[in-house]
Symmetry: D2
Subunit: 90 residues, 4 copies
């Protein structure tokens, strides 16, 4: 069973929390909140996303590359991670 399935509820909770933060930013903009408050909420959501990304990348590396069951799975998992590293890190 893939880590995203095994940890599904935990990952879903984190994704929903970030979605909730974005909904909070939406309400702040709609309600005309001070710009500083919108900036703070966005910085917080960004931090949550950075943490979630790091964790998913680490689990993906472990499960779909290091512990891959077949050579084909390893190549595919490695390729997916390469794309994300090149997207994230530039």
């Amino acid at each position: 069973m893939s880590h995203t399935l095994r940890q599904k509820e935990k990952l879903l909770a984190r994704v929903r929390r970030i979605r909730g933060q974005m909904e909070g930013i939406e309400r702040a903009l709609e309600g005309g909140s001070a710009c500083g408050e919108v900036l703070r909420q966005l910085a917080s959501a960004r931090g949550a996303m950075a943490g979630l990304s790091a964790e998913l990348m680490a689990d993906h590396l472990q499960e779909h590359v290091v512990d891959a069951a077949t050579e084909a799975e390893r190549r595919a998992g490695g390729q997916e991670l390469l794309e994300v590293i090149r997207t994230y890190m530039k």
Copy 2:
């Protein structure tokens, strides 16, 4: 009128797009999508957030610090930006 009010619809559209991306990630996890797909969607949402953050910070600097109407507004606007710089950049 503050820039977040003046550009309200444009900013709301960008925030909603990121929220939509998080909802997409939620569906991908619920539907048991491949982990690589979840990673890709997260990297894309993160990029959108980085762009939105940079734009909001720049507009905040211009409007609430450089062009502040009063010394008090400048100090408050400057303080808000200092907090975000220290949160983002560490």
Copy 3:
């Protein structure tokens, strides 16, 4: 006196430390060190640079924008920071 002059020795020490880290990476590559070691040293130098950048941006904002002596200095200081925010944060 500008903050970069007032804190010159402290800033120089931090810049020299990062330069020293880059020299260490150079030696590691020249000496054929394991790639993992080069990666670790680079991650560490990057962290040091992120901290230095955040501090310089915060001091610049405070001194050359919020506390600027003249309107012209404020506009120039604000413009410099806008360019860095757009470079860093995208």
Copy 4:
């Protein structure tokens, strides 16, 4: 032959360029250059470092994990990358 050995000259050139940028920042501080100029040079050095980090991580993933010659090398290479992902991405 490891990728850091195979691409040694290319990697050394990039590391030396970043070192040179840090030396330039040192001279700017010593010479009392305007703070905005120091910020710009730091942002540029940071960009160069981000690019170098992404490339090294990608090459490390490919060579020491996906294409590792032995299970032991794969585990060690994977562990090194996990540490860097957790350092970089938080």
